[in-house]
């Protein structure tokens, strides 16, 4: 059981000559393995900042991140071990893969860096990972990212994240740049993997519907502040905070709009 504590994290950015921007304001939550938390908010709310802080690409201005009760080390062996246990899936499936390297290379690197399996078994492990994300290894291993579709690339990104056998996964809007028709497939893959591996997943998104579908608990972020949190159903179906209510009202609802548009469409289904 791995426990990640985000404890009173505040992040302030300086803009030269224009003051400061408070991206995160006293944010705290706990992520445990086997659990999924949905982090919901509009663009500019601080969601990506959280992801960067958790992956140690940024440091908090105040507050800290604790893994199993101990602060995350800033360098050296401790940092490396932390990084092996927490991995990230990025939003843009094209930008997160190096256009010059093959798919096999992308999956191989974390295996080599973290020594998860002995060198002789690396090829087999690469194939196994690709199969787990439901890609055909022979078809993709030697291709470059631009030869794959968006959905396939995102699966590769997930396979890369799983390579080091992490306990925790940060998924930063993993499907928002994919076609709507394949989003569910990728999300269900993530759900299956989470169940099978017992991962703790922080699912960052602006889409309430998928957040509810996918998460146990939901945290709502508005301009760096947590405005509401609770079980997924509670937050979505019985929102307390005015901002959450606004978010929910802004979600498209086919029934609501169909009634007013039926005149234009002439009653066609």
């Amino acid at each position: 059981m791995t426990v990640l504590d985000v404890s009173h994290v505040t992040k302030i950015y300086n803009v030269r000559g224009a003051g400061q921007i408070r991206a995160l304001d006293d944010v705290s939550f706990t992520l445990r393995s086997g659990q999924t938390i949905g982090l919901v908010g509009q663009s500019g709310s601080g969601k990506s900042t959280i992801a960067k802080i958790l992956t140690q690409l940024e440091t908090p201005t105040t507050g800290e991140v604790l893994l199993d009760g101990k602060p995350v080390p800033r360098r050296g062996r401790g940092l490396r071990e932390y990084r092996q246990r927490l991995r990230m899936v990025f939003q843009d499936p094209f930008a997160s893969l190096n256009p010059y390297h093959s798919i096999g290379y992308h999956i191989e690197r974390p295996l080599r860096l973290d020594g998860v399996v002995p060198a002789a078994e690396i090829d087999a492990e690469v194939r196994r990972l690709l199969e787990r994300v439901r890609l055909t290894p022979d078809a993709v291993i030697d291709r470059r990212p631009h030869e794959l579709s968006g959905g396939q690339r995102q699966r590769v990104a997930i396979a890369r994240a799983l390579a080091s056998r992490p306990s925790l996964l940060v998924a930063d809007e993993p499907v928002s740049m994919l076609d709507v028709s394949i989003r569910l497939g990728v999300l269900n893959l993530l759900a299956d993997l989470q169940r099978e591996e017992g991962l703790g997943v922080l699912y960052i998104t602006h889409d309430l519907a998928t957040a509810r579908h996918f998460s146990d608990e939901i945290i709502v972020l508005n301009q760096g502040l947590i405005v509401e949190r609770g079980s997924a159903d509670d937050v979505i179906l019985r929102p307390q905070d005015p901002y959450t209510k606004e978010l929910r009202a802004a979600s498209p609802d086919p029934e609501k709009h169909f009634a007013s548009a039926s005149g234009i469409l002439g009653g066609a289904q």
Partner: protein, 360 residues
Amino acid sequence: MTAIAPIPTGETHDDALVVGTTATRAVKGHARVPWRFLGSRALFYLFTLWAALTINFFLPRMMKGDAVDQYLARNRNVSPEAAEALRALLGLDTDKTLWQQYLDYWGLLLRGDLGVSLLHGLRPVTEVIAQALPWTIGLVGFATIVSFAIGTIGGAVIGWRRGSRLDALVPITTFLGTIPYFWLGLLAIAVFSVNLEWFPIGKAYGVGSKPELSLEFIGEVIHHGTLPALTIIIASLGGWMLGMRNMMLTVLDEDYITVAQAKGMPNRRVLWGYAARNAVLPQIQSFALSIGFIVGGTIVMEMVFSYPGVGKLLLDATNAKDYALMQGVFLILTISVLVANIIADIAYAFLDPRTRQTEA
């Protein structure tokens, strides 16, 4: 242990623009006039000036010692004060420490004393340079501005009319730019001065004339200056045209151009008010950067045409091993380049609304 890229505790990753955060909740804000941008540029230029002057200080000291000694030995009728200044400038005071020499050097500079020129009858270096500088600035400044204007406007039109026959102008002008400039100048002389005899062979004015502010003299100057100016313009046109055309092509692909056209704006306005206006900003930046190269071209031009500017001064000084003059000319050239860069930066700061906005 491999060298993982840790985040050193001292380093701040808080620059919002660098990190690219989309967070919007501002805590403190303050509006400013665009002095910050200009202020940081001014700081940079001061630093560059200091670096250039320090290089200038070390240059003669890097030469073989006997060369400089011979220099003074050759010229006995140098006055004691002048000799003193020359020693300080050229590093002959071996009895003083390097640091003391450096301070003496700065003292001289701040007093405006650059030594005396052996080549020019022991006149002060500042005087010699002051006489030559206007010729250079006049000719090269004029030619460069004309070339920049024609090249930029031409590039804008060529970019706008992409796919037309005008596209052929680009490789032609680029070819003219890759021809070594001195060769172009010599060819121009061979064709226009020697064979056709339309223009005089060189110099800024006729051999017997004296500089004065008469119409006749000005006419002579223009007559003598046409060929050098023309060669500079033709040689540098290609660069401006190509740069502007490429920027135009990139800008014309942008959606806001399509929106402007869809709104029904007349083509003329879209071309000049929208596209060219945005494409010209990088042009100004590259103009600032190319000033150093323009200076190089000047030196060549003045040699080819025997034009009495600072470039020719430098070359004559180099050949005659007049070290004080060499040092002085390098100093003036560097300062001119810095001044031109500052002017270009000021122009850019006021033209680009983004620099004004990030301050506000």
